[in-house]
């Protein structure tokens, strides 16, 4: 019962957050909505008995990604007049909803073919230990190349964002 109400609450936050993220005009409000959604998502992971994912989500998605985004928002300090003028924003959204809705329904229909009961989870499901065991027993290669991915992204980001004198405009 408690879990149900927590779920409803988190879901509410999640949806409100993501809707706000899409709907707000001000970038910073979008960002805080996004943060709210991410935190609620972390809560969802906790509800799914996945404590490690819960922490990782908070640590990376909120602690790193959102903070970095905020930092960028603050450091570029977008003026009100530099924000895109989107008078037809909600009309576009309606259009997008019409566009996306069939896709979503199809996916949902497909997903409901899944079994409807939660599996019995063993001892320590979602704990760091089990996570680590699985990660290093079955998923070493992706784990390794993710590091290369991060490095490549870092190099790319530095290259793009670095200011260099250039007369070759």
């Amino acid at each position: 019962m408690l879990e149900n109400s927590i779920f409803v609450l988190l879901a509410l936050f999640l949806l409100l957050g993501s809707a706000g993220m899409v709907g707000f005009k001000q970038t910073l409000f979008s960002a805080i909505s996004f943060m709210m959604a991410m935190l609620a998502l972390a809560g969802m992971f906790a509800l799914l008995d996945n404590s490690f994912l819960f922490l990782a989500q908070i640590m990376v998605s909120v602690g790193a990604v959102v903070v970095l985004s905020l930092l960028v928002i603050v450091s570029v300090n977008v003026k009100e007049e530099n924000l895109p003028k989107e008078p037809a924003k909600f009309r576009w959204m309606l259009f997008a909803v019409v566009l996306v809705a069939p896709l979503a329904i199809v996916i949902y229909k497909a997903l409901t073919y899944m079994p409807h009961t939660w599996a019995k989870t063993g001892e320590g499901y979602g704990s760091l230990k089990m996570m680590g065991m699985t990660l290093f027993k079955d998923w070493v290669l992706p784990f390794e190349i993710v590091s290369v991915l991060l490095l490549a992204a870092m190099v790319g980001a530095i290259v793009i964002a670095r200011k260099e004198p250039s007369n070759d405009a």
């Binding site: 073919y113 070493v140 490549a152 190099v155 790319g156 530095i158 290259v159 250039s166 070759d168």
Partner: protein, 496 residues
């Protein structure tokens, strides 16, 4: 242990090279960095070439990596193409890098990272690995596309590519999640085993997941409903990057597409081939339209690359309809496209080194008088791209169309031939521009250039691959190539 290590050595060398380049990027000059990058790539290339055909299908470090990292002739052939493409890109553009001031050490590292991603993509026997590999390659390429930072066009191309590319990346992983949900594993062999024992209810999820994955792949190769970025990105990217994308990244996607369709979703192909047929038709027509309306050569080549994707999709949809030769045909076509497109883009960037022109058709007027050899090579590449016989491009198209006819897709083959006919227009237009008009510039002396020589070698290979070997014995020609392609595909199919 060391045998296992040897199996992943080429990849390790490439990523090692990237690290070394990053470390050296501040101290070495561009030339030296270029050479270092080429050195690492060639090392990898040589190892792969020695290995081709001698390794049976195996997994590297099976006790650690599981069955994620597969090594077969198929992936080795792709590795060869990636490394060769990167080497050619770097060598041909040596002068270009020096002529522009926005290149620096990280550029080469990014190229190597990208190659690394593609290699993993070709080797990955597992969807998540494939996804991450795809992301490595894509992210590096995103950064490369925007490398000319203070050029607004380049930045804009990067923006478009990145937004659309990342979005479709989400589709890939969503598809993977669905497949994981249905199967409980993302290993291709497990999935294949699951799919081949059909239980109607559960396959829906696999099917939808597969479609999502396909959407991503089709997007990245620029098939028509998802083609909107191709021309812009190709135009916006700096010339060497365009060349790199055309000669490696496009190929990499077929690596995973072929592996998926041949191993994983083989029994679902029949469901998809109709979708694929529609997409193929759209791609052929839309791509032709894209290519024919352009004035800039770069954009024209970009548009035509969509058409070439369409040709390969013809064969790709034939795979599901029971054509044995379709997969080798794609492999062969990839080789042929690799040679011709890399050559064409190479010449473009080679020319662009000295000038800042847009490279429109008009700019090529009288080119044959200024640079007779280069224009001859360009003509060869154009002929090959248009599928003119006696070039490798013709054989590629021949295999494609034959496989289409073999699988009963007569109309598709007919459409392919029609688009090939249309392509003659825009390719020959360039030849006409080069040869039929007097030069507007005064004659210039051009010194002998290594890059030019390299392009020349590629042109020779295009001819050699097309003419084959009936006159000169002992040299494997077209036969050799198609045999190699067949061998690669066979090794792929032997997995099951």
């Amino acid at each position: 242990m060391f045998e296992q290590l040897f199996l992943i050595l080429p990849m390790a060398i490439v990523v090692m090279g990237a690290f070394v380049l990053l470390l050296l990027s501040k101290t070495f000059s561009l030339d030296k960095l270029n050479l270092v990058a080429v050195f690492f790539l060639s090392l990898s290339f040589i190892i792969e070439i020695l290995r081709f055909g001698t390794t049976t299908v195996c997994y590297s470090f099976p006790e650690i990596f599981g069955k994620m990292y597969i090594i077969d002739d198929f992936s080795i052939l792709f590795d060869l193409m990636f490394t060769a493409g990167a080497i050619l890109t770097l060598l041909i553009n040596t002068a270009y890098f020096k002529s522009r001031n926005y290149y620096n050490g990280e550029y080469f590292a990014l190229i190597l990272f990208s190659v690394f991603g593609m290699m993993i993509l070709a080797h990955s026997n597992e969807l998540v690995t494939a996804f991450i590999a795809l992301e490595i390659a894509s992210l590096s390429v995103f950064a490369l596309v925007g490398y000319h930072k203070y050029n607004k066009v380049s930045s804009e191309a990067m923006m478009k590519y990145m937004i659309l590319g990342s979005m479709t990346g989400a589709f890939f992983i969503l598809g993977t999640a669905f497949i994981y949900g249905a199967v409980g594993s993302t290993n291709l062999e497990d999935i294949a085993a699951y799919v081949n024992v059909p239980a109607e209810k559960d396959l829906v999820l696999v099917l939808i997941g597969g479609i999502f994955i396909m959407v991503t792949i089709l997007f990245k190769m620029g098939a028509v409903p998802f083609h909107s970025w191709v021309v812009d990105v190709y135009q916006g990217a700096p010339f060497p990057v365009t060349m790199f994308m055309a000669s490696t990244f496009k190929i990499a996607l077929f690596a995973i597409a072929l592996r998926l369709s041949l191993i994983d979703f083989a029994s679902l192909n029949i469901v998809w081939s109709e979708i694929l047929q529609v997409i193929t038709v759209l791609t052929l027509i839309g791509g032709s339209f894209l290519a024919i309306t352009q004035k800039s050569i770069k954009r024209m080549l970009a548009g035509s690359s969509v058409v070439h994707s369409g040709y390969m999709l013809i064969a790709y949809s034939s795979i599901g309809l029971g054509s044995d030769m379709a997969a080798p045909a794609i492999m062969f076509y990839l080789i042929s496209y690799f040679l011709s497109a890399a050559g064409a883009f190479g010449i473009l960037s080679f020319i662009a080194t000295g000038s800042k022109k847009m490279m429109t058709y008009e700019d090529f007027k009288g080119f044959s008088e200024r640079r007779p050899y280069l224009s001859a090579m360009m003509a060869i590449f154009m002929l090959s791209l248009s599928g003119f016989p006696s070039t490798i491009g013709f054989l590629g198209k021949f295999y494609i169309f034959t496989s289409a006819i073999e699988s009963g897709q007569i109309l598709l083959a007919g459409l392919g031939i029609v688009t090939a006919f249309i392509s003659v227009y825009y390719y020959f237009k360039l030849i006409a521009m080069m040869y039929f008009y007097p030069s507007t510039d005064q004659q210039k002396k051009f010194p002998f250039d290594f890059s030019g020589l390299l392009i020349g070698v590629m042109a020779m290979m295009v001819i050699w691959g097309g003419v084959g070997t009936s006159l000169i014995p002992f040299i494997p020609g077209a036969n050799g190539l198609i045999d190699i392609a067949k061998q690669a595909i066979d090794s792929l199919q032997n997995v099951l």
